[in-house]
Amino acid sequence: MPLTGGNVCFVPQSGSYYRYLKPTDPGAGNPLTWTHSSYDEALLLITLYCRLALAVTGTNRYFRMRAFSSSGRTVWMHKCALAQLDMENRRYLWDRHNENKNTFRGSFLISGPVPYLWLLPGSSITLDVENQGGTDSLYQCLLQVKSYRVKT
């Protein structure tokens, strides 16, 4: 019986493997968007790392991660809880099982939670900043995923 609602089921094949994906830096003042365009694999998000450099202080920014399905609907969203920013540069890490943390190691590394987030072909992830200054920059984004071959 087919599933209702246009949902896709896939069978994780043996031989799944971990790998890293590197979205292109978007340039100052722009959000970072990555689209899963490989048609024959499903990806389970393990971690997402990114750096955010602020050009000016004094404005409260909120760093936001969103996941979209292939139909363009938001299926998960998280704003960094400690991201009311007036700092100059922070490292961010969304990680499974972690609660929000704030560790000072030269610059901040903030961990957020990640649920079982499945990315099928056509789905996408966007990182953006509310109240983004014109010269604020997102860079060095890295996604660690576990890759499964799709078999519908």
Binding site: T4, C9, P115
Partner: protein, 145 residues
């Protein structure tokens, strides 16, 4: 029927987010699981927005059997009040978080047969309160005696 017979769950794979249309103001949402399979819920995500009416809302994730009998409820332990908005993620392995407009809540192992329904149950839902951005993910299994 789970609960009556021992069975070997055969993993048929994961289901990418089940997207549920926003139900409109002061309306609960629900999702009927398709027949023939058994489902392990791994994540439920939604956004809840309170209107300006003073009331203490309590949000719950509820599942019912095919006769509409309540079989289980996950209850948030913090109320929402007028003007609050929260992104809710119930997830296996998550830790309890309440910050930055988020509520992350641990989800215990939840097996749901086809024909059962999962949805919201909101105490003191006000006239302008809304659920939006609703998504669920499952693993799907077949029963093998």
């Amino acid at each position: 029927m789970p609960g009556n017979n021992a069975f070997v769950p055969v993993n048929l794979g994961f289901i990418a987010p089940v997207e549920i249309a926003a139900p409109g103001a002061q309306t609960e949402w629900s999702y009927l699981l398709p027949d023939e399979f058994i489902y392990r819920l791994t994540m439920a995500y939604f956004f809840y927005e309170c209107d300006g009416n003073a009331a203490n809302r309590w949000l719950r994730l509820r599942f019912c059997d095919d006769a509409a009998r309540v079989r289980g409820v996950f209850t948030d332990n913090k109320q929402l009040v007028a003007g609050n908005t929260r992104h809710y993620t119930f997830g296996i392995g998550m830790t309890l978080i309440d910050s930055g407009g988020h509520r992350c809540i641990p989800l215990s192992d939840t097996w749901l047969p086809g024909g059962w329904t999962i949805g919201s149950e909101t105490e003191d839902m006000e006239v302008g309160d809304t659920y939006t951005l609703i998504a669920l993910t499952f693993q799907r299994f077949r029963e093998q005696n």
